[in-house]
């Protein structure tokens, strides 16, 4: 089947142009056509949350979004979280604190947590639970995930404090 859908959009901060079969979901376009396998799938029915990505800054399930609906939009996957050769504070905290066991749901938790922190810099434990409730993890029991999100908040605060102090100097 010759591809005949074609979109241009922003993926992880870079312009991307891709042609694909029109039935494909954003999940499939990312994994199969853009060589970004970091985004995972656990059901392809919108039930497990493992395929979450950020679409224009909002966490969405990429298995429920058609690729053709992403023209001109902005997508962030786990591959786009690190910048300037440095891991995002969420990534460091997840790795350090045991929030990733098998690691299969981790990309989804990371981007969903990023969406939360972009909106609320200091979420409560309950807000964290609420925000992450659409992603299932079978390994961790979630507790180390909550702790990692809270640790990332603290790291971000101290990084900001340091850069504030520098700019005041």
């Amino acid at each position: 089947m010759a591809p005949h859908a074609h979109i241009t959009f922003t993926v992880n901060g870079e312009p991307a142009e891709v042609a694909f079969a029109p039935y494909k979901t954003l999940l499939e376009v990312l994994r199969e056509d853009l060589n970004l396998p970091g985004t995972k799938h656990g059901c392809e029915l919108g039930e497990c949350g493992a395929c979450a990505v950020l679409l224009d800054g909002q966490a969405v399930l990429s298995c429920l979004v058609l690729g053709v609906d992403c023209d001109d939009r902005d997508v962030t996957t786990v591959e786009g979280l690190a910048s300037d050769g440095r891991l995002h504070p969420l990534q460091d905290a997840f790795a350090d604190l045991g929030a990733a066991q098998c690691g299969y749901c981790t990309p989804a938790f990371l981007v969903t947590a990023k969406a939360l922190l972009d909106e609320h810099r200091h979420p409560t434990r309950h807000q964290i639970r609420e925000a992450l409730s659409g992603v299932l993890c079978r390994c961790t029991g979630y507790q180390q995930i909550f702790e990692a999100v809270e640790a990332a908040v603290a790291t971000t605060d101290s990084r900001l404090a340091t850069s504030d102090a520098r700019s005041r100097r």
Partner: protein, 818 residues
Amino acid sequence: MKVIGIPRRRVDGRAKVTGQTRFADDVVLPRMLHCKLLRSTVPHARIVRIDASRARAHPGVRLVLTGADFPIPYGILPVSQDEHALAIDRVRFVGDPVAAVIARDELTAFEALDLIAVDYEPLRTFSSPDDSLAHDTPRIHDYGDAGNIHKLVSLRFGDVQAALSAADHVFEDTFFYEGNTHLPIEQHAAVAAKDPDGKLVLWSSTQTPHYVHRALAKALAMPAAHVRVIATPNGGGFGGKSDPFNHEVVVCKAALLLDRPVKICLTREEVFYCHRGRHPVLMRFETGVKRDGTITGMRVQTVLDGGAYGSYGVASTFYTGALQTVTYHIPTYEFRGCRVFTNKPPCGPKRGHGTPQSRFGQEIQLDKIAERLALDPADLRLRIVEQPETLTANYLHVGTIGLAECIRRVTHAAQWSEQFRKLPAGRGVGLACSSYLSGAGLPIYWNDMPHSGVQLKLDRSGGVTAFCGATEIGQGSDDVLVACVAEVLGIDPNDIRAVTGDTDLTPVDLGSYSSRVTLMMGNAAIQAAERARDLLADAVSKKLSVPKDRLVFAERRVFDTEDPAVGVSFSEAVCLAEAMFGTLGTTGSYTPPRSAARFKGGGVGPSPTYSYTAAIVEVDVDQSTGWIHVPRVWIAHDIGRSLNPTLVRGQVEGSVYMALGEALMEEQTFRRLPSKLSHALVHKFPSMLEYKSPTTLDMPEVFTELVENPDPRGPFGAKEVGQGPLLPVMPAVANAIYDAVGVRIDEVPITPEKVLRALDAKAAGKPARVGPTRFPAVPWPAALEVPPPWEGGDGTAIDKVKSEKGKVKSAETEVVRP
């Protein structure tokens, strides 16, 4: 200790948080084709005809395979070689694979499945153990102990009947544990290819590459040396990826025939059909106790609904009766187990393998015993905890036991004595305990070879590569491997590269099951590292003229303990040793100690040592809706020694999570389609939406305590943690509900509906209980009599014929209590 015992980022942590861990479905190869399986739509039938001609003619289809292409059976246990990659002439459950299509893409393969016509001649469907016990024919399999009974076990250790008669109280309780499934977030996936040499390579999300390797060689009739199995990191396993699977055999055959890579990724629905999950178990416990709570004897009977194939089922059956004695002292013990075949997806090993079901019954019954004897449940358990370094009635050698300390820690942390039976109506706390294997003492196929092997390659750069067949399923086995080597050699874990789970590159490790990897691989890794350290020490000793026993390996240096300034860097030490000995490489192996059990069936249960856990669960029960909320769980685990506390805590909390799912909501159940349709027995809800599992909002706060009392049998004293902490949580929930609202729910899942039903019964003056009341008639065979150690037994069964002639004395030896 510089590495062991210190909370640390796992060595594969960065890969996991950057999305770079390469799972099976992330393997993409040039010219790769895609495979889909056609699965049976009927639960039990003869296949009369398969017509795949239209599928073969469909554009884009490269190959269609059917059962005729797979004449050789396979299965995980040597005694249950009852699976074919595709059904030959019979289907045994809805979801049993019948045909495979290999096409240019997944969608084309899917479309072509609809073009395959299969004519079935329906056979009687067996939907429950009652069905299978009542009807011998048609047989689901042409093997097994009788009719549709797969396995019957009957073992007796001492005179249980006399012990029950001598007891002050005899408790008889029946419990039911519903089946549930692993639900790993990663769907099983596999890619097979012919490598450039013409040999077969399989990448697969498997927990047991070694056993898959053996099964492929058998089922494809190939020399094992021409088959390579690479276990990709599993996106969760929990036991569900421990069997050799149909789809693995199919893609291998297809890749060989087509000389092109072939991939399959199962749908979520198919993962429910693969199953191999928790057996539904109906069980009866008869326990005799003295007034002080001492157990005089116990008889346990279990009936397991096995589903359509053998899988690990024979082992699962024994496990329902194996570990009762490891936790508490039980001087006489009898176990009868029965596994039946039914027309449902096959059950197998799920976290805790066969033991959570009977642990549920045992710990609820102890709660009932404590109440009748007016004893605190914690005190009762402290009185009867098994002694360390003993041989149990059923010949399991128990190592260190930290259970009493676990009980003290959780009761202290939860302020048990101020809470138990003292909280307002609707709120309650419950306690339960458990134990689990640190690795099965025997391999799945009998042999005298090591269970785990490690090879080290030492590099002039100062780097070390550790090779081991162990499989990373998220539990952190790569990290354990690296940590053990780093500690011995005094280098940083990140200086070491782990190469694991590859049957071509790595020495055999039997796989990630039975909580065996940390203990077995860890010991092998320490041995290999100590041998390497020895070589380096020889060379450095000569160079520095410092006696070997004064050399210390730490901080990437080898130096004189009396004058730390005198030393060389680790990489210099490697160069010196390479100059002295030539190319450097060492190996280590681990073989468990021989079991004391020498009777038939004694192969299931032995372990080098056992872990222990105690848990207290707090519940809030809404008496108008039956809704159960779990706000807090306290859990203490006897780990021996914690190698990386961050990962250990994750295993404990993850176990609590999975246990709460089993206790409160998860169930793998089935229903009949309406008669006007096919009346087929189908999975009630093969989707993650309907199969409820706990979310972030359901998870309580968990307070974890680690009891560290190093066991000399474990690497640096470590015991297991991956499975044991799951076991006490389900009965602790049930016991907490009784404390909260005074009703006994003697089965899982404990749903609001059942709580309401029990509350209604209580209000009506009927027994305040929901749970099974009857136990089916099972044609138990005569028990194999094995006198316990304190009756002069030597681990062998009494030969009835000989003992009648008075030639064997073991049964007549004077009874000696320990």
